[in-house]
Structure formats: C-alpha cells, structure tokens
Symmetry: C2
Subunit: 401 residues, 2 copies
C-alpha cells in the first residue's frame, strides 16, 4: 500500500535527496541508546552512516556500533539542544526526551523525525487518547486525571485500566484496578483511566512513512502478553486472523499514521474485540518490540525502514520471506546480577532460531535482556519451536535475589 502526502516541504525534500549519506560527513543523531538504538546501529553500520548517540548510561547497549557515543540526560533541555546542534538529522529510540529542546532545534531549521509535535501528541497517554477521540479513531473509553486525588474524587466503574500519563514503559505504569483497595496502591501522578476491553487478540501494525511521502505497512502481527509482567511473550507474524480483520487493522493503522502526519516508523497496537471491532490501544513513533521478528523474517527490517524513512530514501519491502515469531528474553524471577543465558546453546541448535542479546550485564526480574527470533516456512512449526525456545532458555544469574 502506497500513499502520497506532502509531509515535509518541497525544499526539505530536495535537501534530503541531495544528501549523500553513505560514507559521507552526514551525521545522524539518535536520542537514546537502548536495544532499539543498538539494532538501529546495525543498519547504520551496513550503510556506513555516521551516528551520534546520547544516553544517560555508560553501560547503554548502543555504546558500541555508533561512531560517537555521549553520556547525558535525555530530559535536560541544554543537553538535548547542544547534542542536536552537532548533527544533521535527529531521531529517537525512546519517547521520553526533552521536547522543548526539539521544538527549538526544529524552529532553527534542524530536521527532527519524528517531529516534536508528533512526540508531544504521543508522550502523554492522556493527550494520546484525546487525539484518537478527536480524529474518530476507534479506541476504548477513557477519562483523564491530573493526579490520584482527582481520580479518587470521580466515580469509576471497576475494573478499569489505570495508566500513568507519562514515562511508563514495558508495562510499568499500567495496572488493572479491580477495587477501591487497588486505588490506594497507585502512585500520585497524572493518569488515565481506561475502560477494560475484553478482547480476542492483541494486534499491531507497523507503518513506515517516509520524509518524502511514501507509506508502507508491515503485516499485522499478533501478540501474547505475560499475564503478570504485562510484557509481550510472543509476537507472531503474520497474525493468524481473518483477512478482513487484518485489512481493517491495517486501514486503522494507516488512519492513525495519517492523523499524526509522522515520519519514521509508527507501531500501532490494537485490540481485536470479540465482535471483531478494532480498538487502538497505543502507538510508538519508532521501531518497536512487535517488529523485531522483521530482522530475520522480512525483506527489509523495521530498523532499516526507520532509517530509510527518516532519511527520505525509498522504503524497503515490508513483506515477509518466512513466518516469524519473536520471544522476549526477560530476566527470570528470583535472579539478580551478572546475567547467564541458560540453555542458549540448546536453542541455537534448532533450525531458524536466532538469539539477540541486548548487552545488559545485569539481569533483574522481568528486565528485557534480549529476544529470540524463530523463522520457518511453516507457521505451525515456528509456533511449536517458539514454545520449545521459551521453555528452554532462562535468563538467570549466579546470585539469587
């Protein structure tokens, strides 16, 4: 699916086209140096594009593979602004960055993709939900609260989903509230209460939208979450759903992408209800856990397409060569300290199994330490192997908690 929009000005488009990115002096800045940054760097190395990474931690997974790595606070105005001045184009691998600095950089002519305007609409989950309502994008009912007292003083029907408005990630900052008692345990922050949706499937569609106006979508994927940690356990591509439902999910993802007018990747997470209604849950304006399978299964990985999109290069083929399933490697409960990937040799002996180790030296319960991709011509076989992988490998340490 290809649509044409004027996303950036013609002047900017010409500038982008004239750019020589490959083995040149062009400098790409990336805010954040986690695993998403690390996997993005694999693509910048492939194209020999100079990269500048900013991350608060000296131990960040992206410390290697970048041409320059700086340590600094992503929420600090001056740090982000000064970093942005050094590069030719700025992107992110995490949403929680100082947007005022990005606004100022953009106002001064710096290319920032995704734009701070898009990020502002996404960074706060309350604003994000309001945005869907304003744009007639199907989503569950919600109410916004400035803090916990505000929430307490309102009448709410149990159960509901509580989300902290900002800075939550990987299931942190999301709770199912079933009673008055549960409310007492919530932190006193700006938040959103969402209607609890009873759903058949959690789906996601990644939309790639280029600075030059090209749009492509990855196939619909199906997700299974860990019941406690609220982290994805399996991502299955393609989703084993009806073609019509897949089509509907893709159309809604494109609607969301158009509404945000974003540049780069937009991962749209959705619920498929028991009536086959599609409700948008939330979005991420960057490469996403639900697209990791693409490194091995797709013609062009999500990371390469993010890069192509923000640089105004033609988008790569988003179709799959083979069925792909992704298993997250999260720290096992009860272990903390120097990580050991128990039975990794065992899973590597299975055809089509590729572990990705993010490079975090210390494991903690439920910490995202890596993922494993399983590819196979046959989806059923891939699913069988995925379960074998999940049951074999264990992220532990010598030290028990």
């Amino acid at each position: 699916m290809i649509f044409e929009f004027e996303i950036v000005s013609l002047h900017q488009q010409l500038q982008l086209q004239r750019m020589n990115y490959f083995s040149s002096d062009f400098k790409l800045g990336i805010l954040g140096g986690g695993q998403l940054g690390k996997m993005l760097l694999a693509e910048t190395r492939k194209f020999d594009i100079q990269t500048y990474i900013l991350d608060p931690s000296r131990e960040a997974p992206s410390q290697f593979g970048a041409t320059h790595f700086s340590i600094g606070d992503l929420m600090d105005f001056n740090t982000v602004y000064e970093f942005g001045k050094k590069v030719d184009l700025l992107t992110i691998e995490i949403e929680n960055v100082n947007l005022d600095a990005l606004d100022k950089l953009e106002a001064e002519g710096q290319k920032v993709f995704p734009s701070p305007k898009t990020l502002r609409l996404i960074q706060n989950k309350g604003i994000q939900k309001d945005f869907y309502v304003q744009h007639n994008i199907p989503t569950s009912a919600h109410q916004r609260f400035v803090n916990l007292d505000d929430l307490k003083s309102n009448c709410l029907t149990f159960p509901f989903v509580w989300k902290c408005a900002q800075f939550g990630y990987d299931g942190n900052g999301v709770k199912v509230v079933r009673s008055i008692d549960d409310i007492g345990n919530l932190p006193n922050v700006e938040c959103v209460a969402e209607q609890m949706v009873s759903f058949k499937n959690e789906l996601a569609v990644i939309v790639a939208r280029s600075a030059s106006g090209e749009v492509k979508t990855y196939p619909v994927v199906e997700m299974e979450f860990h019941p406690e940690a609220n982290q994805v356990e399996y991502v299955i591509c393609p989703a084993r759903i009806d073609t019509k439902v897949a089509q509907k999910a893709t159309e809604i993802a494109l609607q969301v992408s158009k509404a945000y007018n974003h540049v780069g990747l937009l991962a749209v997470e959705m619920f498929q209800t028991h009536d086959n209604e599609i409700l948008v849950n939330e979005v991420a304006p960057r490469p996403h856990n639900s697209g990791h399978y693409s490194i091995e299964a797709s013609y062009t990985s999500q990371f390469e397409n993010h890069l192509r999109a923000i640089l105004g290069l033609p988008l790569g083929n988003t179709a799959s060569k083979v069925a792909g399933i992704m298993v997250n490697l999260v720290g096992a409960e009860g272990y903390s300290g120097n990580v050991i990937y128990e039975n990794i040799e065992k899973i590597m002996a299975i055809d089509g199994v590729t572990p990705h180790i993010y490079g975090k030296k210390e494991t903690r319960p439920f910490r995202k330490m890596g993922h494993v991709t399983i590819v196979n011509e046959d989806m059923k076989e891939a699913r069988r192997i995925a379960e074998e992988v999940k049951n074999s490998i264990k992220v532990i340490s010598k030290k028990l908690l």
Copy 2:
C-alpha cells in the same frame, strides 16, 4: 550434511562448552579489520560478545562495532603475539598474518581458529596446490617457482595462469600469461604457474566446521567474474546447475575441509569443466565474498556460522529462505577520491535490494567498496534485478583520475 570428527581435544571441547560468551568477560580477538571483520562484528554485537580488532589502518571498516580496536602490523611477530595474549580466542578475517606468532600462542595454550597449521597450508598458493595433489583433491596441473628467473628457465606452455605465491588478493597477483612478452611484465617473486582451465562455471561451496566437530555446507553458488579486474561480479545462490554436479562439488568441498581439519568457515572455489569435472581452484579459511548473499538469503549468515563454529556453538541452518544474488560494488575506472554511490536511491527503490557499504572513504578503480544483495522468491526475477542494479549504481567520486 553432518559429520563428526574430533577436531579439538575433548579437554578443549569441554572448555568451550563451559564458556559463557554472551554479555560476559570473554574476549574474541580478530586479526584484520576490513569488510569481512566489519560484517562479523554485526554478529558479535547481536550476541553481545566482546571483540578486539587488530588492523594496520586507522580508517579500517571495522573501527566501529568492535568493543576494542587497535592499530598494528598484522605481519609483525610481537604485535600479533601481544594482541593474542590479551584475548581468549583468536580468529582472522585475512590470511596474511604473522603465523610464527600464532604458532607460539597456540603452543602456549591459546585457542586459534583457523589454526596456524591450516593457515600455513593455505597462505602460500604453491603449498596449497601441492596439498591438493597430496590429498588426491582434483585440481589443475601446476608448477612452483622460487622467483621469476626460475620460471623463465623452465619450459612452459602458453597460455598459463601465473599466481604470486603469497599476499595476492582480489585478483591482484593473478595474471593470464599468453606469451614471452607477458612474462617480462611479471614481478620477481615466488610464484605458481597453473594450467589454464577451460570451464563452464566457477562454483564455490562454503563449509562450516565447528570446534565441537559439527559440519554443514552452504548451497553451491555460481560466480561470474569481471573480465579485466578478475573480481567477482555476480554470486548466484543456488547455482543454476545440475543437481549431480552440485552434489559432486559439495562432496569435494567436504573432502577439502576434512583434509585441512579446519575450524571455522572454509570457502572452496572450484571450476566446473565442460566435461562436468570439478577442479578445486583455491580456498579461503574464513567468511568469503561468495557467501555475502547469505546475510539476506540464508537462515544463518556465513558470518554468524563462522562465529558459531569457532566458539563451538551449534551451527545454524545453512539453507536459503529465498534466491540470493550478490553484486560487488567496485570503484569505477577513471575515478579516485571521496566516494559517491551514484543512483543508490534508485536501486533501493527496488524490492529485495540491500546495499552494504563497507566504509572506505576513498574510491579507486576496482577497489571493493561494498556489495548489493538481491533476494527474491523467483531466481529469474532476482537475476533480472541484479543486472538492473549493476547497470544503475556506479561508485564514483567528484575527482576524476
């Protein structure tokens, strides 16, 4: 195809099995920091394995992506020896390294894969040819000469293929000699004269052989060379040849691999004569240009399998997901200086096309600057696109020679 050999001692095997490579203190040393090293680093990053690179050039393609990068002469005994002492396991991405240093390291208990013994049998093309004769491996007739005068004083039938015995690469050090006049232009070095083989196809098979004794072969690939530069222009996987010929080539590659008792990858280049005879041309004990297609087309890339092999991890699936063709990107004649990849955007707009830019800032005529992989479900379509790619992209510079 899987065979079991005792390649390394049981003691070494147990040591390897006990190793924790992933996000650990384990240090892999790589001699050479060219494009092969760079692509190998993509895999060490994926597994978060610490790497130490040694290369003579500050501008080496592998300067990024390694955890440590040192500058030093690969032919200097002390440099290589001291470097080897710092790491837990040593591998190479180029054959021309100081073998005396590797011998001493190995004698002192250091793991070196491929072993200096294997490298010694390969580094000198005269010794390599003798080795095939000794092991009943089919190869073209040859004669060895200590220098040019030695060659001149012998009766040779024109035409023949002259090869300098050591330090030739990418077609440098190989000449077709058609007359007495041609001999006058040859350098005065140790050399080999080989019978000129009239062949239908140039084929290659990459054998992966693990420190723990596992052996797998990649499919037979077919190569087309540039008529002047003697560099590969297309590598086509799978080779469009008869199954029986492919089987024969695979068996001979395994015979060669067994004879060398190598650990890691062994790329075996062969001629298919007009009588469907297979003659071994030469080998490379490392990832090879003829296996670059595997990054996009195979379940497990040659680089990942080299790593798995030397670490004694299970080998990955060498089969292909889709047809793959590789086009080398070499510097265009007449250009020298800061590289420009003309029409790279044009080829990136074609489905299944992935450029790899090695990161050499300066182009020179016939210099290997990168490669492009074309993958497609349909081989004919892949071949058509490969030609389109070859005719579109041009490696030039602003400065003419």
